[in-house]
């Protein structure tokens, strides 16, 4: 199966581990990702707070317009990019007036988007196109005994509610972790917000959100947290020490992209696991599964 791939800005910067592990896992599962040429920023949820939804969505649509001639499904590996691309795509399909106006703007750059593509998250593609059985076949080092908190985050399941999972209590990523042999722990905060882009301008929001999420994950006995979202990953990983300093807690829970844990279970090379990008060290928790520093 072939796909057009939209990496998004974070994969070139704070979330290189996401890119490396997604590419490797996709390769192992015969999912062929072709990067959308010369893609641009989707605007995340921030641009529309300055220039409005329409302009932000048109900017996002430039990527869809470039991808359209190939006709492949567009795969996204970032929850915030997914929100932008999927919601924009939906508007092209459902709102003729919007579509005409947006195409008028795109035409200024010599582009046009007809709304024919499907926008999907990599997590959903792994689950529905590769499937749990294929995943199980690829597992070389079952993660038996590893307790995982599946932190889905907020936008992954709520950008388009019920698209592939329950927006209130998602279960699909847990099932994927179980296909790897791991145990998904009970984790009530799994779809709670991490504080998103407030890390710089309102750090307290991120620290407070992270505290609650760690308490919930630790309450279930989690040894690692996995997530599909680069913002969640960064906030929980980079601010864990800060949470401990401010709240006198002692959390030491590595936070991985779900694809990194898949790379471990598939026994892919170190470059694919990309564990050296983790700030909270994952080596102790994963020592039993062939992972050494």
């Amino acid at each position: 199966m072939k796909y057009s791939f939209y990496p998004g800005c974070s994969m070139e910067a704070t979330a290189q581990a996401n890119l490396k592990s997604i590419e490797a896992v996709a390769g192992a599962l015969d999912l062929h990702l072709e990067e959308i040429p010369d893609w641009n920023c989707c605007g995340a949820t921030v641009a529309s707070g300055v220039v409005g939804d329409f302009t932000q969505q048109v900017m996002t649509a430039r990527n869809l317009a470039i991808a359209e001639p190939k006709g492949y499904d567009v795969v996204v590996g970032c929850s915030s990019c997914y929100l932008s691309l999927a919601v924009t795509n939906k508007r092209f399909k459902e709102d003729e007036h919007f579509k005409a106006l947006a195409n008028e703007a795109l035409a200024a750059g010599g582009l046009k988007y007809d709304g024919s593509l499907r926008v999907r998250q990599f997590l959903e593609v792994v689950i529905n196109d590769a499937g749990f059985d294929r995943v199980k076949e690829k597992v070389k080092r079952p993660l038996t005994g590893l307790k995982v908190a599946g932190y889905v985050g907020c936008q992954t399941v709520r950008a388009i509610p019920y698209e592939f999972d329950d927006p209130e209590y998602p279960v699909q990523m847990d099932k994927l972790m179980e296909a790897l042999g791991a145990t998904a722990v009970d984790f009530p905060m799994k779809a709670r917000c991490c504080g998103s882009s407030n890390a710089i301008a309102a750090t307290d929001i991120v620290v407070d959100s992270a505290l609650k999420i760690f308490q919930s994950a630790a309450g279930g006995g989690a040894q690692v947290i996995v997530t599909p979202c680069p913002m969640c990953q960064l906030n929980l990983d980079a601010y864990q020490q800060r949470v401990n300093q401010l709240h006198g807690t002692n959390f030491n829970i590595p936070v991985l992209f779900f694809t990194q844990l898949m790379a471990v279970a598939f026994d892919l090379p170190e470059d694919a696991r990309a564990l050296n990008y983790c700030i909270v060290s994952p080596y102790e928790a994963l020592a039993a599964y062939g992972v050494g520093k």
Partner: protein, 197 residues
């Protein structure tokens, strides 16, 4: 935030009309004040007003209360309310409109307003976001005091550097940046025309 109850009630109906004319503004009229958004919101406890109360203040034309409130800036775009609102109001998108309107009308004391402006300046200049660039622009807008606060966070930054999470060089600019800028300019022009309809 205290409502100024001892003052004569001022209804600025022009304000309500202006807000309704924003991209997602007319949805506000559909709000039935049920409170689902308030109990769902991730950051409700630190908002001056819940989305429900804010929408009510808009209906009442309370311009300053609305635009000085931190509500839209505390919104993290988590989509919980949007998924749950029984009236199908895209509350997160209304919050985007309110942020934009606040900035345009000079209500941008909230640090997030500076962050948003910095983020957009970055996107507009290279077609991609570079965290280093956003951060630098943010502190330029907010000034030295904010930078001192940031010093308390230096461990976070150092940890990120050590684990290759904070590239010091920006990514390559989008090749079609010229065309992207034309597209954005045209979109803004069309959006203004639509709002005037």
């Amino acid at each position: 935030m205290e409502q100024k109850n001892n003052q004569p009630v001022k209804y600025d109906l022009n304000f309500a009309r202006e807000i309704y004319s924003l991209e997602n503004g007319s949805y506000i009229k559909q709000c039935m004040q049920c409170g689902m958004c308030a109990i769902s919101c991730a950051t409700r406890e630190i908002m001056d007003y819940s989305p429900r109360r804010l929408f009510n203040l808009i209906k009442l034309g309370k311009k300053d209360e609305v635009l000085e409130a931190n509500t839209m800036w505390q919104c993290t775009s988590c989509c919980t309310c949007k998924a749950r609102c029984p009236r199908g109001i895209p509350i997160i998108d209304v919050m985007h409109d309110l942020k934009k309107y606040a900035i345009q009308n000079g209500y941008s004391d909230d640090p997030r307003a500076a962050f948003y402006k910095a983020f957009w300046a970055e996107v507009a200049s290279r077609g991609k976001v570079f965290e280093g660039g956003v951060t630098a622009r943010y502190y330029l807008i907010r000034g030295l005091d904010e930078l001192k606060k940031a010093f308390a966070m230096k461990d976070v930054g150092l940890n990120m550097l050590r684990h290759k999470r904070m590239p010091l060089l920006p990514p390559k600019k989008v090749k079609g940046l010229g065309n992207l800028k034309k597209i954005i300019r045209k979109a803004q022009e069309l959006e203004r025309k639509e709002a005037g309809r």
